[in-house]
């Protein structure tokens, strides 16, 4: 029988994969995709807690809706920034974007 721990371990595995991608990749779009992966992992944990610990309250599911709003906003602004950087510098390799480094 599948229980709360199974969902939490799945969530932790997805979050770790996203963490590795966000830290180790050079393409800015792949980094943004990894961050989306981490947000989805957190959402799974939220829904699992809501289902197994307070099944009648649904507070976790409401939180997930707000996380989805913020994730959509983050993707829109992040991709706009990436496209603006690409216009100026012809690359989205994050190891070469060191404009603010001194």
């Amino acid at each position: 029988m599948v229980g709360l721990e199974h969902y939490l371990i799945l969530s932790a595995v997805l979050f770790s994969i996203g963490l590795y991608g966000a830290l180790a990749k050079r393409n800015a779009i792949i980094i943004l995709m990894s961050i989306e992966l981490m947000l989805n992992a957190v959402n799974i944990a939220m829904v699992a807690f809501s289902r197994y610990i307070v099944p009648l309250l649904l507070t976790g599911q409401v939180f997930v809706i707000f996380i989805m709003v913020v994730a959509a906003v983050e993707v829109a602004v992040g991709l706009a920034i990436i496209i603006a950087i690409y216009r100026h510098r012809e690359t989205i390799d994050v190891t070469k974007i060191n404009l603010m480094k001194w």
């Binding site: 599948v2 610990i53 709003v69």
Partner: protein, 162 residues
């Protein structure tokens, strides 16, 4: 029983798709496996009896966010260079594995107060009541459109031709 089988299949496919996102060389294929991962997460929500969230996941993530990401990949022509790793590949792997180990250790050693009550079965009316009803989340619901408006204006300003 059926829920268990569905969970294991969805979990295996989802983890494979997530690994493909970070390991594939081709950026476009990575984006497509991200879409597959979003779909399996929607299936996971259905096994958790969160039907409204599954529909929202498919509409927002599979429908909108994946289209945005694929559009950005098309617009930046970074596809030819693939998805290389930086110098932090091995430290990042170690950090991710340590994080996973720590979290799994912590959650297996925590006595969760699991409730035996069966979950609510259509969740949409209950979520609507929580979002818009008395003593619910009406203030965050009012703030979310402001955030969306600011994001739309910001994105337009950022990508506008000078």
């Amino acid at each position: 029983m059926g829920v268990s089988v569905a969970f294991w299949i969805l979990a295996a496919v989802g983890v494979m798709a997530a690994l493909a996102v970070v390991l594939l060389r081709d950026v476009f294929r990575a984006a497509l496996s991200l879409v597959l991962c979003f779909l399996t997460v929607a299936g996971i929500y259905i096994t958790l009896s969160a039907d409204f969230l599954a529909a929202v996941q498919i509409l927002i993530y599979v429908g909108a966010i994946s289209v945005l990401i694929i559009l950005a990949i098309m617009l930046t022509r970074e596809v030819q260079r693939g998805s290389p790793s930086n110098r932090l590949q091995i430290p990042a792997f170690i950090v991710a594995v340590l994080f996973l180990g720590g979290v799994v250790f912590a959650l297996l050693n925590t006595p969760w107060p699991v409730s035996s009550v069966p979950p609510l079965e259509p969740t949409t009316p209950a979520i609507a009541g929580l979002l818009f009803g008395e003593g619910g989340f009406i203030l965050p619901v009012e703030i979310a459109p402001l955030l969306l408006l600011a994001a739309i204006l910001g994105a337009i300003v950022l990508v506008r031709e000078k």
